[in-house]
């Protein structure tokens, strides 16, 4: 089970879904906080749902308020960085670049891609944590190769 978990994690890193920050979070888990990473990821998805909704509403306005959109995305990128959501972060950066250049179509397209990456990561992490709970605690966080 532990090997399956390690392989899953390696895959998430190899496919670019997660970065080093995820490992930093795992290294904070201990006997007193055995589900810290799952707790943080759950908090991320709960909190960022509000931001996603705000951005969706802001993208329906005409003309777009790029300043407001950039501000929302700045927050969203910050939260995504905190859990190591690498692909989501990349889309956030692209979105902010489109805000900077005032490219409305670019913003809308990138946001759709961002939501895909966000949803894909959520599904993958749900499976990961399910396996992690079955596998039980590990002695130390294992760094992917």
């Amino acid at each position: 089970m532990q090997r399956q978990l390690a392989n899953m994690k390696q895959s998430l890193f190899d496919q670019g879904y997660l970065d080093e920050q995820f490992i930093q979070l795992e290294e904070l888990q201990d006997d007193a906080n055995p589900n810290f990473v799952e707790e943080v990821v759950t908090l991320y998805y709960r909190d960022s749902a509000r931001l996603i909704h705000n951005i969706e509403q802001a993208l329906e306005k005409n003309p777009l308020d790029f300043g407001k959109l950039d501000s929302y995305m700045h927050q969203f990128k910050g939260s995504s960085s905190s859990i190591g959501a690498k692909k989501v972060k990349i889309e956030c950066t692209q979105f902010r670049e489109y805000c900077r250049t005032g490219n409305a179509e670019g913003c809308k397209k990138t946001f759709q891609q961002l939501k895909k990456e966000y949803a894909t990561l959520k599904k993958k992490l749900e499976v990961y944590f399910q396996v992690a709970r079955q596998a039980g605690p590990v002695e130390k966080a294992c760094r992917p190769k």
Partner: protein, 150 residues
């Protein structure tokens, strides 16, 4: 992880027990305040600091942080986010320094722009880091804190 302790003005560093004072008069844990409008960051930075043995409290914006100090609370270390609603990190840091607060205040920002970091530092920070902080950053901060407290 090596816990940090503070003894009547002298620092004892975990198991190395470099106690300079002749008598141990008082033992208390280093106290830190995490100021950030992002609950995720408050949780992560709070956990990072607690892992090194610090007692932590949290505030959601600069005004809450200032109000905590005004209520008489003291903190050895403040992690201050730059961008927050109500009162941002620059205003809060200026206000705290104006009140005579000499705690170590470390700015944290999601942006790495040098000009913004310099402006933030100019308000009275001891250091400024890009978030999220990691273990290496926290150790560096605690090393500086140890020098300040000793």
């Amino acid at each position: 992880m090596v816990p940090w302790f503070y003894l009547a003005g002298k620092m004892v560093i975990g198991s190395s027990k470099k106690v300079v004072a002749d008598q141990i008069e008082e033992v208390r844990r280093i106290c830190a305040l995490v100021v950030d409008d992002d609950p995720l960051v408050r949780r992560i930075h709070g956990m990072l600091l607690a892992r090194y043995g610090l007692e932590t409290e949290a505030a959601e914006n600069g005004k809450e942080a200032v109000d905590l100090f005004l209520s008489g609370k003291t903190f050895d270390l403040v992690l201050m986010d730059m961008e927050m609603p109500v009162m941002d990190g620059l205003q809060a840091t200026q206000r705290l320094r104006g009140m005579g607060v000499s705690s170590m205040i470390v700015g944290v920002t999601a942006r790495g722009l040098e000009a913004e970091k310099e402006a933030f530092m100019a308000t009275g920070l001891d250091a400024c880091w890009v978030k999220p902080l990691n273990a290496e950053a926290i150790i560096s901060v605690l090393d500086e804190l140890a020098k300040k407290l000793l």
